[in-house]
């Protein structure tokens, strides 16, 4: 779906901000809806087709986090949610884990928001065909006996848009070329990603997948379709979903 065709719901308690932003969204997207808080947003969601939700975090009545969780929990085939915050109410790691597509800071960078919204609208297969960046210095190369054993041993966990991997260090936030060799299956899962967060003391890193090499793209898409993880990027390798494990 193209952004121009998408219906966007903006949830923002500051009326002035809501007004300005929805005007802009109305121009860049198909249609813009506005809600003052989470509860209002849920009402809008119920009555309309909504393709993307852009929500503030701190709001009276129902804040952004509660809204995200409610959407994830109660709306089948739920729309992607992009969170916007003026303060560090929650970390990027938490946001991705809770299923948010992205966490943007106020004041909102319009270009960044546009990019995120466009990516949200892409199907995974299409998403991961995007051109790779050249000259990426960061490399992540690992070998596992198999995907199942890696998941079982909590070395790796997949989310809808990325994975969390046990990593002793050396990863910085930013683009990374990754390559995972699943020996037993004879499969090399390689591609390019964006390190979204690192937790060196926990030996964890969260990576959003940007591009996947052709041979295993379909495999990944199929794996995630069958596993259907809730998180965008899991907060920890230990939080891989059971469905995904059985899918592997």
């Amino acid at each position: 779906m193209r952004l121009e065709e998408a219906f966007v719901l903006l949830v923002e308690d500051e009326p002035l901000l809501c007004e300005v932003m929805s005007a802009w969204l109305g121009r860049v997207a198909g249609k813009a809806f506005c809600a003052q808080n989470g509860r209002e947003a849920l009402r809008v969601l119920k009555g309309n087709r909504i393709d993307i939700v852009v929500s503030d975090v701190r709001m009276p009545v129902m804040d952004g986090i509660a809204l995200l969780e409610t959407i994830n929990r109660s709306t089948p085939g739920h729309p992607p949610v992009i969170l916007v915050t003026g303060y560090s109410d929650l970390t990027l790691r938490e946001a991705y884990d809770r299923g948010a597509e992205a966490l943007l800071e106020k004041p909102i960078d319009r270009e960044a928001l546009l990019l995120v919204m466009r990516r949200c609208l892409m199907q995974p297969g299409e998403l991961w065909q995007q051109p790779r960046r050249r000259g990426v210095e960061s490399k992540l190369q690992t070998r596992f006996a198999s995907l199942a054993s890696a998941l079982e041993a909590e070395k790796l966990a997949f989310g809808r848009k990325g994975f969390c991997i046990e990593r002793s260090g050396g990863l910085r936030e930013g683009p990374v070329d990754f390559s995972m060799d699943f020996k037993d299956e004879g499969r090399v899962f390689a591609g390019q990603g964006e390190v979204r967060w690192t937790a060196p003391e926990e030996r964890q890193a969260g990576i959003e997948i940007i591009n996947v090499d052709e041979p295993c793209r379909a495999w990944l898409v199929d794996l995630l379709r069958r596993g259907a993880p809730a998180a965008c990027i899991p907060a920890s390798t230990a939080s891989a979903s059971g469905t995904l494990r059985s899918a592997a």
Binding site: D13, E14, L16, L17, V20, M21, A23, W24, R58, M59, P60, V61, D63, G86, Y87, K106, P107, I108, R110
Partner: protein, 1132 residues
């Protein structure tokens, strides 16, 4: 062992068909069974021999010999006796001429070996055994080694024609057996002396040459007979030459060994000889001396070797020694012997017997002279001693005052001395013809003869007897005869020596004396009074039982002492003068009363009656003392004297009452003081009623007890009692009294003294009471006189400062305590004097150096006359309080800052959001404008106007927040008080809080209209308080379920402005209410609150003249800040 093993293994291998062990390599000759058997037996023989079992070894060797001989026979006779296959048919026939037969060289080897072995075992051949064994061993070893080497190189050295070859196992066995034999031969005779060695070498090399030659021939296929012949001949010649060479080498070695041994023997003899041995150069210098010599002379061997023998020869003997030595060295005499003296290193002279001789070499040249020196000092000194003792004996014998006689064993007199002649009255010539028994009294003769016989028989070593001799003139003479035996060198009795002493006079006196002594001793011992006999040197010669009992010593102890030893020191001088009178001036009788010291150190009095005992010449020899114990009497006398003395002393003292109470009349005589003490007019005799009426009834029994105790125990005592005065007051008195005895020793009365002790008593009492009171106080209390010297020191002072009263008294208080004043000390002193007191703080230093801050109160003490005489200081330690105060002050400031910062921290989240939101608005508006302009080239003026207006408004909002934030983070405690409107305070505060409340959905209810009230305050501080109250309210409800709100009310009440903050919470439980406002008390979870907010708020409010209170009247939680309203003038 290995050979046996090889043999057995090969035998077994034959049976189990294992060719590898038999042949080693398939193209090699096998080790036949017979060979194997022989090898096994040979090995066994060797083992047996090595273990000393010669018979078994011989048997094995015999068997081997039999087999070898048979095989040899077979070869030489070219016959087949059929026993080759005795042990089975061979199935390997490589290089074998006759099936199962050992090779000819093997048979020869075994033959030789068995012969050697038999020789070794045989007793008859034992002489040649080692030779045979050695020779055979060499041969065998070489054959074994050569054939083994060749076989390994695929040569066949000892195959004669087409006959059976030697196998590898066999050749190994021969080599080993050969070495075994060699070892045995060597054991019998060492290599250097083995005559067989040359022959052995010869044969060994020969056998080797033969083997090599054979191998060469075989290799070269006998093409060059000449060369091979030359090699053979050359080899054999070489063998012979080697043999000869070895023989020569052995001979020389044997010769030199003999020489070495002889030298070693000589050296051993030289070094270890007990005689001194010296080798002297022809130039008369030492060449070598042995250990005995150096020991004899005390010089070390090195020292001696650098000396000439003359140097330590005794000067007297030097000339002779030198002469003899020169003659010897010149060869004029072959040897000489001389007894001479040497001087040792330590100067001692020793006698030595020197034998000197010349040592020449084979050509007769003089090499050196050898001296043999024996220490004969002992022998020499023995001879001299004998000579001396003989001379001495003769002198003694002749000059002895005792009669001496030498008697031969036949009892003939051999020698008599002059004394004996004098005693007996016979001449020496007469006596020499007599027998001692001849002049012995007939009654004693038998006994004397018997004793003499026993003496000569050696039954007794000597005897002493009192016996009678008959003098020439017929007089009878008592003598003491001491007789002993003199022996010759062989120990045979040579003479009897008799020593005769005339005791005639003693004998006659003794009898008379004994009787008198017996009588005296009886008297002496039985006497009830102490008796002593004392020598002129004061030594006690005898003391009787009574005397010993008196002093507590045993008689033995007393007789070891002098009379002065047990005399009391002060009485020694009178004792000495008595004794001098007794002995020196011949005063026959003396009397003295003196003190003695008993063994236990007690003093006893004794009356001594001393008399002198004279000897026959009238010279004093003994003093005799009769000592009577008069201690009891003396003690009574002393006591009497003491009492008298005391009384006289007492009477001399005017201030003391003297009293004397007569038991019989029950009347007392008093002196003037006595009446004064009892406040009675003086009168004559005082009756009991008179004085008893004065004494306090409670004290009367005590006085009675005192008197009866004095009478009963006859020991003086003291009593204190009160006297009631006519004016009703009380006087304290003390009385001292002692019993008076009459001539019969009965108590006749009591005499004593009395004293008025009222003042002392009162002072004591007051002091005791005061001290008790002061001691009760924990405060450090001390009294110091005007010079500052401490005169009283309380228990509290001790506990506080660490000095005990004993230590502190007499010291100057300011010095002891290093008192530091915070005002000039003169002012303090002046204040004390003028106002009779001072209060203030001082610093005192304790004994252990701690500085204490004391709240000190000084008060002046005056004496009865009202003159100041001391200052009492009461000091209370307030150090801890002071420190605590200081700490609290410091802590409060720090905590206030910390709490403010923590409140700020908590606020920061909300503030950031609060700023971020307007920022986002500005950002969005600006972005929008920019985008529109970009898209369309321009923006509609209305939009621009609206957007810029909104941007300005939003920016102002941010500015307001930043301003409040900046303000609130200041401390504000130093600000001036300023009239501020409550509305303004609330506005500023809410600006910061609103966002937070909104974020958590806490409703903030504000009054619709804020009353226009003004308070004089430090604005920042009051804002902090309001913010704090709002924060608390927010924290209290933020986590609650349901409707959450916080309400702010403002009202004016009796000159005060009241700002109350109420939240939707349920209120504070009653049990916690009292603790609210305590520093650090918090109901918030850990990390959320410092517990200081409310306490600080309270402090601030109080500084403003208001307060913060919890209002428990409403159902919710409500805190109210009350501040006094500013006066109108100020408000304006």
């Amino acid at each position: 062992m290995i050979v046996t093993t090889i043999g057995v293994v090969v035998l077994v291998a034959w049976y189990v068909h294992f060719p590898l062990l038999i042949q080693v390599q398939p193209d090699m000759a096998p080790m036949h069974r017979m060979t194997a058997l022989s090898a096994a037996l040979s090995g066994a023989a060797l083992i047996f021999f090595a273990n000393g079992r010669k018979r078994a070894a011989g048997l094995c060797a015999g068997l081997v010999f039999l087999i070898a001989a048979l095989v040899c026979g077979e070869y030489t006779m070219n016959a087949d006796y059929g026993f080759d296959r005795l042990l089975g048919d061979p199935y390997i026939t490589v290089r074998t001429s006759n099936l199962g037969r050992m090779s000819p060289i093997s048979s020869l080897c075994f033959l030789g070996y068995s012969l050697a072995m038999l020789a070794m075992c045989s007793r008859a051949l034992s002489h040649f055994a080692s030779a045979i064994a050695g020779v055979t061993g060499s041969g065998l070893a070489t054959v074994g080694l050569v054939s083994l080497a060749n076989l390994l190189l695929h040569r066949d050295p000892y195959s004669w024609g087409g006959l059976t070859s030697v196998s590898i196992p066999s050749s190994t066995a021969y080599a080993l057996l050969g070495f075994g034999l060699l070892a045995m031969a060597r054991e019998e005779q060492p290599a250097t002396r083995a005559e067989w060695l040359p022959v052995g070498v010869c044969i060994g090399v020969g056998a080797a040459v033969l083997g090599i030659w054979r191998a060469l021939i075989e290799h070269e296929e006998s093409d060059l007979p000449l060369i091979s012949l030359v090699i053979l001949t050359g080899g054999l010649a070489l063998a012979l030459l080697l043999g000869l060479a070895v023989y020569q080498a052995q001979r020389t070695q044997r010769g030199s060994e003999a020489l070495r041994q002889s030298e070693a023997r000589f050296r051993g003899v030289f070094e270890h000889s007990p005689l001194g041995l010296v080798m002297v150069h022809t130039d008369y210098r030492f060449m070598k001396v042995n250990e005995s010599m150096s020991r004899m002379l005390g010089y070390s061997a090195e020292e001696l070797e650098s000396m000439s023998p003359l140097e330590f020869t005794h000067p007297d003997d030097r000339e002779l020694s030198n002469r003899l030595a020169q003659r010897l060295l010149r060869g004029e005499i072959p040897l000489y012997q001389l007894e001479k003296r040497y001087v040792k290193k330590n100067g001692e002279v020793i006698w030595a017997a020197l034998t000197a001789t010349l040592i020449r070499d084979r050509q007769g040249r003089v090499l050196y002279s050898l001296g043999i020196i024996e220490d004969i000092t002992e022998r020499k000194s023995d001879q001299e001693a004998l000579r001396d003792s003989e001379e001495r004996f003769r002198g003694v014998f002749e000059s002895s005052p005792l009669g001496l006689a030498l008697v031969r064993p036949d009892l003939k007199l051999a020698k008599v001395n002059a004394s004996l002649c004098r005693l007996s009255g016979y001449s020496e010539a007469e006596l020499m013809t007599m027998n001692p028994l001849d002049y012995t009294h007939p009654d004693d003769r038998e006994e004397s003869a018997r004793l003499a016989e026993s003496l000569f028989k050696g039954e007794i070593p000597f005897y002493q007897a009192e016996k009678r001799y008959v003098k020439k003139n017929g007089e009878i003479m008592w003598v003491t005869l001491t007789s002993t035996i003199l022996r010759d060198r062989e120990g045979r009795p040579a003479y009897g020596l008799g020593m005769i002493q005339d005791i005639t006079e003693r004998k006659t006196q003794q009898e008379a004396l004994r009787e008198s002594e017996e009588r005296f001793r009886g008297l002496f011992e039985q006497s009830p009074i102490g008796l002593t006999l004392m020598g002129m040197d004061y030594r006690i010669i005898k003391a009787n039982a009574a005397f010993c009992r008196m002093l507590g010593y045993s008689e033995a102890e007393v007789t070891r002492m002098t009379a002065l030893d047990f005399t009391y020191p002060e009485d020694r001088e009178p004792t000495v003068s008595l004794v001098e009178k007794l002995f020196g001036q011949g005063v026959p009788m003396q009397k003295l009363e003196k003190r003695y010291l008993t063994k236990t150190g007690q003093i006893i009095w004794g009356r001594v009656n001393a008399s002198v005992i004279l000897d026959s010449q009238g010279k004093p020899i003994y003093g005799m003392g009769m000592i009577e114990d008069i201690s009891e009497r003396k003690r009574a006398e002393e006591e009497l004297r003491m009492v008298t003395q005391r009384l006289s002393l007492a009477t001399k003292s005017a201030s003391i009452g003297i009293w004397e109470w007569e038991l019989r009349t029950d009347l007392a005589i008093w002196n003037e003081q006595m009446f004064e003490i009892f406040a009675m007019p003086p009168q004559g005799r005082v009756s009991r009623e008179d004085w008893a009426g004065r004494i306090h009834p409670e004290d009367m029994p005590r006085v009675e007890r005192f008197l009866s105790a004095v009478i009963r125990n006859q020991t003086p005592g003291t009593v204190e009692f009160r006297i009631g005065l006519p004016d009703g007051s009380i006087r304290y008195a003390s009385a001292y009294g002692g019993a008076v005895l009459d001539e019969k020793g009965q108590v006749s009365g009591v005499v004593g003294m009395a004293q008025d002790i009222t003042k002392r008593k009162q002072a004591e009492q007051r002091l005791a009471e005061q001290a008790e009171l002061l001691d009760l106080a924990h405060d450090a209390i001390f009294v110091r006189d005007l010079e500052g010297r401490i005169t009283f020191w309380s228990r509290g002072a001790r506990d506080t400062y660490g000095w005990t009263a004993e230590e502190a008294l007499g010291h100057t208080s300011n010095e002891l305590l290093h008192t530091e004043f915070n005002v000039p000390q003169e002012d303090v002193e002046a204040a004390v004097r003028s106002r009779a007191g001072w209060e203030g703080e001082v610093v005192h230093t304790t004994r252990d150096g701690r500085k204490l801050i004391m709240a000190s109160r000084w008060s002046l003490e005056r004496d009865e006359a009202g003159a100041p005489h001391a200052i009492m200081q009461i000091n209370r330690d307030i150090t801890a309080r002071k420190q605590l105060e200081a700490q609290i002050e410091a802590g409060r400031e720090q905590m206030a800052a910390a709490a403010r910062l923590s409140a700020l921290g908590m606020m920061a989240g909300g503030v950031a959001h609060e700023i971020n939101n307007p920022l986002a608005i500005i950002h969005a508006l600006a972005s929008e404008l920019a985008e529109i302009v970009e898209e369309r080239g321009s923006a509609p003026p209305a939009m621009v106007a609206r957007s810029s207006m909104l941007i300005r408004q939003t920016a102002e909002r941010i500015a307001a927040i930043v301003k409040s934030l900046r303000k609130i983070s200041r401390e504000g405690s130093k600000d001036r008080y300023y009239p501020v409107r409550i509305a303004k305070i609330l506005h500023e505060t809410l600006e910061l809080s609103r966002a937070r409340f909104a974020a958590r959905d806490v409703k903030l209810i504000l009054p619709s209209a804020i009353p226009d009230l003004t308070v004089a305050c430090r604005e920042v501080q009051i804002e902090q308080v309001v913010l704090n109250l709002l924060q608390n309210a927010y924290d209290a409800v933020a986590g609650q379920a349901g409707e959450r709100w916080v309400r702010v009310d403002v009202s004016a009440r009796s000159g005060n402005a009241v700002i109350s903050v109420t939240d939707s919470g349920p209120g504070i439980p009653a049990e916690l209410r009292d603790r609210i406002g305590e520093p650090f008390f918090t109901t918030k979870e850990v990390g959320k609150g410092s517990g200081l907010g409310l306490s600080l708020s309270k402090t601030i409010a109080e500084e403003h003249g208001g307060n913060v209170e919890y209002d428990d009247a409403c159902g919710h939680t409500r805190f109210s800040l009350t501040l006094p309203l500013a006066r109108q003038a100020e408000a304006a």
